[in-house]
């Protein structure tokens, strides 16, 4: 860990200003990821701007019926918030499938989106890694890649985005509000994270100095028929090998709308509206679910230790959709 300075920001503008004023400054929210990365010398900021005092800790209803999650609300407070539990149980379930109770108490909703990949090589400065050190090579492609991506990979990086929460946010079509040196803007969840391409050092599409202020959920929370299925190597406190956020709007047996997002398979939550559209107006059957799975997995490529995900993911998609269907039949 390098030596760094530290300030605590009281307003969003000062936080943005502080980042600009330093060479390699970083925000620190819950600290559950940035501190680990600093201890491993993966991140070496010269300055930390503590944003935990910013007035972004509210969960409030939006005029359009949606819900706004302040960027600094903790994962635990979000998951147990009555409105979230009632209207967005998919999000609640997803958050609770991640990390551990202690970590969720510290981790913030904003920070969760920015957590970096758990690629073993990214974490170990003794090995080459394009994401950590652009141009040094990707050790995972021919190395131990059991937890790595099978979709949207590039020859430069096959890392996954490890967040559970982001998978549910993708399925729910949340929008992310950001402030930066050039003012405010919003990004659809689908545009927030990115694929590695030839710039794996960038996990997302934010500009330098931008800060997430809130995550806005649209009014429809798919509260009746949903599921988050997380497959992992132990029952808790492990990242997903494959995860599925599934949400359905049913009319009897007929699907009015479907959402399916995958975690653990790509550099970002993996969604394909075309695949979901296959279910529109169709019956909620395993055969139909298999078609979606096939469409979602199109072009999947394994790298050895992770090839099993190509088999596992479709099974997980079908199971998650079956379970979502069986929840409540209206």
């Amino acid at each position: 860990m390098n030596s760094f300075t530290y300030t605590r920001a009281e307003t969003v503008d000062t936080a943005i200003g502080e980042i600009k004023a330093h060479h390699t400054a970083k925000f620190i929210a819950g600290g559950t990821n940035i501190l680990d990365l600093m201890k491993e010398n993966v991140e070496r900021p010269d300055h930390l701007v503590d944003i935990t005092r910013l007035p972004l800790k509210q969960i409030e209803t939006l005029p359009d019926g949606g819900l706004r999650l302040g960027a600094l609300v903790t994962n635990a407070d979000t998951a147990y918030h009555p409105e979230v539990q009632k209207r967005y149980p998919l999000l609640s379930k997803t958050i609770l499938a991640g990390a551990s109770a202690q970590l969720r108490n510290m981790a913030t909703d904003g920070g969760n989106l920015f957590q970096r990949t758990r690629c073993y090589y990214f974490y170990d400065t003794a090995t080459p890694c394009n994401k950590r050190e652009p141009g040094s090579g990707c050790s995972a492609i021919n190395g131990f890649n059991r937890i790595h991506a099978i979709l949207g990979t590039s020859e430069h990086c096959i890392a996954t985005h490890p967040s559970d929460m982001a998978v549910a946010l993708a399925a729910l079509e949340a929008t992310i509000r950001v402030s930066g040196p050039n003012g405010e803007r919003t990004l659809a969840m689908a545009d927030f994270h990115r694929l590695p391409g030839d710039k794996p050092q960038y996990d997302n599409n934010l500009e330098a100095g931008e800060i997430v202020t809130s995550i806005d959920l649209p009014a429809n929370g798919f509260a009746n028929n949903y599921n988050y299925l997380k497959l992992r190597d132990r029952s808790s406190y492990a990242f997903a090998l494959v995860s599925v956020a599934a949400a359905l709007e049913l009319e009897g047996d007929t699907i009015r709308e479907a959402r399916v997002a995958l975690g653990g398979v790509a550099h970002m939550p993996w969604r394909k509206p075309e695949a979901e559209a296959l279910l529109k107006g169709q019956k909620a059957t395993k055969e139909n679910f298999r078609k979606v799975a096939e469409a979602l997995l199109e072009g999947a490529k394994g790298f050895g230790a992770n090839t099993f995900k190509i088999e596992l993911a479709p099974r997980a998609i079908v199971r998650a959709l079956v379970m979502a269907t069986e929840m409540k039949k209206k």
């Binding site: 491993e40 170990d124 131990f144 132990r234």
Partner: protein, 741 residues
């Protein structure tokens, strides 16, 4: 029953309060004014040579006192033998910072010492190193041939063959042969390795070390640095888990002492979790088991061959294949054990070393054979029950394994098992039942203890053993209290200090039997003196009694037949003007008596798993473990030991694996986020049954030791249950969901 009868009762840990309140201090928590901190720099390559090491930037940071590297560090001893601790194996031990050569991943290459831990850590990141790297060899399975394992340290005896296994196997009605593999595991006790070296004005050292033997650390330090025992006292009152990793001194001890002597100051060095993966480990092992049997299931041949990894410098051996020669009755047995030198750190004993590994293969193979024979797996084991230990050609001192099978099966409901694999399901879950046998040694070592009873009724007992979380403090307090008939609250037990009477390494499950016997003897010696004094008392009711006629209970010395004829212990001392009685004894095993018998603990483990048919997710729903371990001193801590063993067995079966990238020769999951052990949510219904054995051959206490037996056999039983559930046999451990798709 007297209120001071403790043996066999569930007694809570006497150190429990100190542990949960934080009062119990561990090696890295002792402080002193002026303490400075060392941070270890680990090699980024696995094999090769340091060509340049530049410490100037690190040294320029304010607060940095020194950076030790192979270029400037002292070389206090020349010969390998100086570096040999009590648990060392054949070969050349690591000599930290002696040379630029790199022999394993994360080998220590520098020590940065600074005023604060944070500065040391920061400066460590500024040490610039250039290497000439060579391609490391770390994959055991890449070339499945090694050399014959040498007769190693005490404990490993090359097993004897018997009969003609090759021929018997070829002629057997039913043959089964398979290869099993498991990857390395690291101990990963909660407490990181740490040494705090306090230097007094005279330059003498008081070393707080994380170790399973303060004496072993002292021996190592005095040999290497040429110090007298008086100059290097080692203290280790609490150890946050050992599992074998503390049996040998680790390099932080060497580095901390080296820095303290060089800088003439008190120094602490604590390893990071990542660095814990640069230490010894359970070696990866490749095994082939061949079983030949008659149609009826009688074993006619057992062949068991193991290939295990060791480092380039040292020949680590453990008892892997020998168990296959004692588990079952069979006249034709061939056991072979090979080692292969790889670019890894020297493996070390890890809980039930060898048995956890070897029995996993044998007991999986037995299960496989049972299906081939169309026989119940338990019935197959009963049919081949070993009444004597054929490997040693001796009877067992006691062996209640048959009762373990019976009681375990009864409690588990084994008789209701549908023998057909994949025959039971609940929705999408496949349910399976499996079982296995476990075996471990019951050993006693030489140990000394001293006891001091003062006239206020307080008994202080001491022996330089360790408590690595096993409950030594509690077990010894129980034995002492019961021997002298005192309330347990009146007893203080001291351990982990080289100024105390010498005890063996805490390992091999021999602490209760060895140190416990010494404690019992020291207390008995006090008892004898008390009795003599009691006889002298005016109107003593014990005047005519012999020592055999009396008992110590409820703070009194009483006639066995007539407890009302008694005198108070405190009164006896008071009236005879004695302020204290102190006795020290060294308890030796009765070799002549023990030699004639095989002394073992046994277990029968029954497991129920559920496996998701489509997704491969595995859940161990139920485990029943029946243990024959002699006399149980404290059922509460004994049960905890077995529970811990079961959890580790589940871990071995399903989770644990130090994953190497063989191109780098580096362990890639070197943190507790990615090196998986079970979490609470993975552990469900565990039941422990103790089948007591009355065995005065193993030692006077009759306790066989329970530290390791709880683990042996569990992983095999889990794997066997998975087969029964799914019809799919996985022979490379751990069994993860991808292997079941």
């Amino acid at each position: 029953m007297a209120a001071t009868t403790y043996v066999g009762k569930p007694i809570s840990r006497v150190d429990g309060r100190a542990k949960v309140t934080g009062e119990a201090k561990y090696a890295g928590e002792f402080n002193t004014a002026g303490l400075v901190y060392g941070y270890v720099v680990s090699s980024a390559i696995t094999k090769g040579k340091i060509t340049k090491i530049d410490t100037s930037q690190a040294l320029s940071i304010p607060g940095v006192l020194q950076v030790f590297t192979h270029e400037n560090a002292p070389r206090p001893a020349h010969f390998d033998r100086s570096f040999k601790d009590d648990d060392a194996v054949a070969g050349a031990p690591l000599k930290p910072l002696y040379s630029p050569e790199i022999g394993f991943s994360m080998q220590p290459i520098a020590l940065v010492v600074a005023d604060t831990f944070e500065i040391a850590r920061y400066a460590a990141s500024l040490v610039e190193v250039e290497y000439k790297a060579e391609k490391p060899e770390t994959d055991l399975t890449s070339k499945p041939k090694g050399h014959k394992a040498p007769k190693g340290k005490s404990g490993f005896t090359p097993p004897k063959d018997r009969g003609n296994a090759k021929k018997a196997f070829e002629m057997a009605d039913v043959q089964f042969e398979a290869e099993y593999v498991h990857m390395p595991e690291h101990h990963n006790a909660l407490e990181m390795f740490s040494s705090t070296v306090l230097m007094d004005e005279e330059g003498k050292l008081k070393i707080y070390d994380k170790t399973q033997s303060a004496f072993n650390s002292q021996k190592y330090i005095t040999q290497v640095f040429g110090l007298s025992k008086d100059e290097a006292r080692v203290v280790s009152p609490f150890v946050g888990g050992g599992f074998g990793s503390g049996l040998r001194p680790q390099y932080q001890l060497y580095l901390a002492v080296m820095a303290a002597l060089e800088l003439k100051r008190s120094v602490r060095v604590t390893l990071t979790r990542q660095q814990m993966f640069s230490l010894g480990h359970r070696p990866a092992t490749l095994q082939t088991v061949s079983l030949g049997a008659s149609e009826a299931g009688a074993l006619q041949a057992i062949k068991h061959e193991a290939l295990s990894e060791t480092s380039r410098g040292e020949e680590y051996t453990e008892v892997i294949v020998n168990w296959s020669g004692s588990l079952y009755q069979c006249d034709n047995v061939k056991l072979d054990y090979y080692l292969r030198n790889l670019d890894v750190s020297t493996p070390m004993d890890m809980r039930a070393p060898g048995a956890a590994t070897g029995v996993l293969a044998t007991e999986t193979a037995m299960d496989e054979l049972s299906y081939k024979l169309g026989m119940d797996p338990l019935e197959l084991r009963l049919l081949n029950y070993a009444e004597v230990n054929q490997l040693e050609g001796k009877p067992f001192s006691s062996k209640a394994l048959r009762e373990c099978y019976a009681q375990g099966a009864e409690r588990f409901g084994w008789s209701r098992r549908n023998p057909v694999p994949r025959s039971t399901r609940e929705g999408t879950k496949l349910i399976g039942w499996g079982m296995a046998t476990g075996i471990w040694d019951a050993q006693q070592k030489k140990a000394a203890a001293k006891a001091n009873l003062s006239v206020d009724g307080k008994l202080v007992v001491a022996s330089g053993t360790a408590d690595i979380g096993t409950g030594t403090y509690t077990a010894m307090s129980i034995i002492a209290a019961e021997t002298l008939g005192l309330p347990i609250e009146a007893v203080t037990f001291k351990l982990g200090d080289t100024t105390l009477p010498e005890a063996p390494l805490e390992g091999g499950s021999w602490t209760v039997s060895s140190v416990g016997t010494a404690v019992q003897e020291a207390c008995e010696a006090i008892g004898k003196k008390l009795f003599k004094l009691a006889k002298k008392l005016k109107d003593s009711p014990l005047k005519k009694a012999a020592f055999e006629d009396i008992a110590f209970a409820d703070g009194r010395i009483q006639l066995k037949g007539n407890p009302s004829a008694s005198v108070s212990i405190i009164e006896t001392m008071r009236q005879t003007g004695i302020n204290y009685i102190e006795e020290e004894t060294t308890a030796l095993p009765n070799f002549l008596k023990q030699m004639k018998y095989s002394r073992n603990t046994h277990s029968a483990v029954f497991v129920e798993v559920e496996v998701d048919e489509d997704l491969g997710q595995i859940c161990v729903r139920r485990v029943v473990s029946a243990i024959a371990g002699g006399r149980v001193i404290n059922p509460k801590t004994a049960r905890s030991q077995i529970l811990g063993g079961i959890v580790w067995g589940i871990s071995m079966a399903l989770h644990e694996e130090s994953v190497l990238d063989h191109d780098f020769g580096r362990i890639m999951n070197h943190n507790l986020s990615e090196y998986h052990v079970p979490v609470n949510a993975d552990i469900h219904d565990l039941e422990v049954i103790f089948v007591e054995e009355h065995d005065k051959i193993v030692n006077p206490l009759g306790a066989k030791g329970l530290g390791e037996i709880g683990l042996v056999g569990v992983a095999a039983a889990v794997g066997n249950a998975i087969y029964h559930a799914t019809g799919k046999r996985v022979r490379d451990f751990p069994i993860t969901l991808d292997k079941l798709l």
